[in-house]
């Protein structure tokens, strides 16, 4: 039985994703906010929006913390309360969940949630170092283990235990680049061949350049309200019907298993139960493909296939745009890009477009139920949300 909505999304915005030279994070966020405001003419942002919750991972990139009021100031939302949620790459997944709490609690009727990261002005070694801060310092970073390195450790373990191949991982990249080529806001709007992905340079074996998501500038946002107020703002809301979040040990080495993200699995189970839906009911999903192996593990953790069968699922084509359960129709973190703090609500933006028939060339026909899966770090945080067409 599909349960009643928790909250409703009445509008959404996404900046361009890519190398946005000369722009500051707050300016990129203003671009996303403008889209959300313009999409919803019945909403008076300064009057109606009562609070802002934003995901932002790192002060290091722009030497700027205190992101909440900074973004409120650049999107015309002062003096409304604004705060930043930091959960590494799941920062805006956590911000979204916090927005759900705010509305469900009755404290606020309308809130904006979103996220931003400005990354491309920094060198790759600098970004590598900043991203690694989402992992355990004393036993991982201290020994030279990078972020791609952690996912590479999961990939090696998955290959060893289940026979997953480098080719299957590359197929995730090929699929997501195909989708990203259809998304006018994606960072890298071009197809990639299996051969090119397989022969790209090694970042952390077995992960190669095309197994890794992109270093991207971007911002995203959603406007949430009470389901009974949604029709005041739009004729086509999208309801959030399930929300789950879980935590695991900060260090990958402390986890029970290397081939699954327990937090992702638990967050998924919580969201499914709350929504009253099962994996087979999903029409689309945006999952956290920070690395190709992460998408394969996400299939398994979210019950799209049995444990160990994620490699077969991508190979069979089930998750392609025209497959049984299209995954990452936006191009995912892989091709659309991964401005870490913006990713969680950027995933929700894609589901919003799909469930309101606005996804243009990548529209999945008659999509009714969607899911987002947003992971922080190497899996110490995961937030899963389930959506239904309003």
């Amino acid at each position: 039985m599909v349960r009643k909505p928790l909250v409703s999304i009445v509008s959404a915005g996404l900046s361009r994703f890519g190398r946005l030279e000369g722009m500051y994070g707050r300016e990129i966020f203003a671009e996303a906010a403008k889209e959300a405001f313009e999409r919803c003419p019945n909403l008076d942002p300064t009057k109606d929006i009562e609070g802002l919750f934003v995901g932002h991972m790192g002060e290091s990139y722009e030497h700027q913390g205190h992101t909440g009021p900074t973004l409120a100031g650049w999107s015309g939302l002062l003096p409304k309360p604004a705060m930043r949620l930091e959960s590494a790459c799941a920062s805006s997944g956590a911000a979204l969940r916090t927005g759900v709490f705010a509305v469900l609690s009755g404290m606020h009727d309308v809130v904006m949630v979103g996220g931003v990261e400005k990354m491309t002005h920094r060198s790759t070694p600098e970004v590598t170092e900043f991203l690694a801060m989402a992992s355990d310092f004393p036993f991982e970073q201290w020994h030279g283990i990078t972020f791609p390195g952690l996912y590479a450790l999961m990939a090696t373990a998955h290959m060893h235990k289940f026979g997953t191949t480098e080719e299957q991982m590359a197929m995730v990249a090929v699929k997501n680049h195909h989708n990203g080529a259809l998304n006018p806001k994606a960072h890298m709007q071009k197809e990639v061949t299996l051969e090119k992905a397989m022969s790209s340079r090694v970042i952390a074996w077995p992960l190669k350049l095309y197994d890794c998501s992109l270093i991207t500038d971007g911002a995203s946002c959603l406007i949430l309200t009470r389901p009974d107020l949604a029709k005041e703002f739009t004729d086509s809301p999208v309801h959030i019907i399930g929300s789950g979040q879980a935590s695991d040990a900060i260090g990958l080495y402390e986890r029970e298993e290397l081939t699954t993200l327990k937090a992702g699995k638990l967050a998924g189970q919580e969201a499914y139960k709350m929504a009253g839906v099962e994996p087979k009911d999903l029409d689309i999903a945006e999952v956290h493909d920070c690395f190709t192996i992460a998408e394969i593990i996400a299939y398994e953790d979210l019950g799209l296939c049995d444990p160990g069968k994620g490699g077969s699922l991508i190979k069979e084509g089930a998750t392609k745009l025209n497959g049984e359960i299209p995954v990452n129709t936006s191009g995912g973190l892989k091709s659309k890009g991964h401005p870490v703090g913006a990713t969680g609500t950027a995933q929700a933006y894609e589901i919003y477009l799909q469930l309101t028939e606005q996804a243009e060339r990548r529209q999945v026909r008659k999509a009714e139920i969607g899911l987002t899966h947003n992971v922080g770090g190497s899996g110490a945080t995961a937030a899963v949300h389930i959506y239904r067409r309003g």
């Binding site: 790759t124 070694p125 600098e126 590598t128 170092e129 690694a132 004393p138 036993f139 991982e140 970073q141 201290w142 020994h143 030279g144 283990i145 990078t146 791609p148 390195g149 590479a152 450790l153 999961m154 990939a155 090696t156 373990a157 060893h160 340079r201 090694v202 970042i203 952390a204 074996w205 077995p206 992960l207 260090g251 990958l252 080495y253 402390e254 290397l258």
Partner: protein, 132 residues
């Protein structure tokens, strides 16, 4: 008799500088914590004793890092892995003295110690793994 070191990560690395791999054994529930923690995550006890680990184990997973953080750039590419110690806990670290083509999941590794100290915070020494 000197005071025992507090059950912290700082103390763990002090032992590493003496060439010892030490874990904290909870005196109440018996769990072996590596990294040590000042409060037992299983039973909330704050009474522990240090135990020296054998430092032998099997490789659970590995990767060869080509793109490294800034301070490791001169060492890249290098191999890191997670080792399941015979004593129970898993420990990640760099794996040295092994060619990439020789490395295999399940291979035996032992802990060794690099006496050189970092000149950057937190000034800890490093342990690493190598074939026996």
């Amino acid at each position: 008799m000197s005071e025992p070191l507090s059950f912290t990560i700082e103390s763990f690395y002090k032992f590493v500088s003496e060439g010892k791999l030490m874990g904290a054994k909870c005196s109440k529930c018996g769990i072996l914590l590596l990294p040590p923690k000042p409060v037992c995550t299983k039973c909330l006890s704050t009474t522990f004793r240090w135990v020296e680990l054998k430092g032998k184990g099997k490789l659970l997973s590995y990767t060869e890092i080509h793109i490294s953080p800034m301070q490791f750039e001169s060492m890249a590419p290098y191999i890191v892995g997670i080792v399941e110690l015979e004593d129970g806990p898993n420990l990640p670290g760099m794996i040295r003295d092994v060619e990439p083509e020789e490395i295999k999941v399940g291979m035996d590794l032992i802990v060794d110690f690099d006496p050189s100290l970092s000149n950057q915070w937190p000034l800890w020494p490093r342990y690493f793994f190598r074939p026996p």
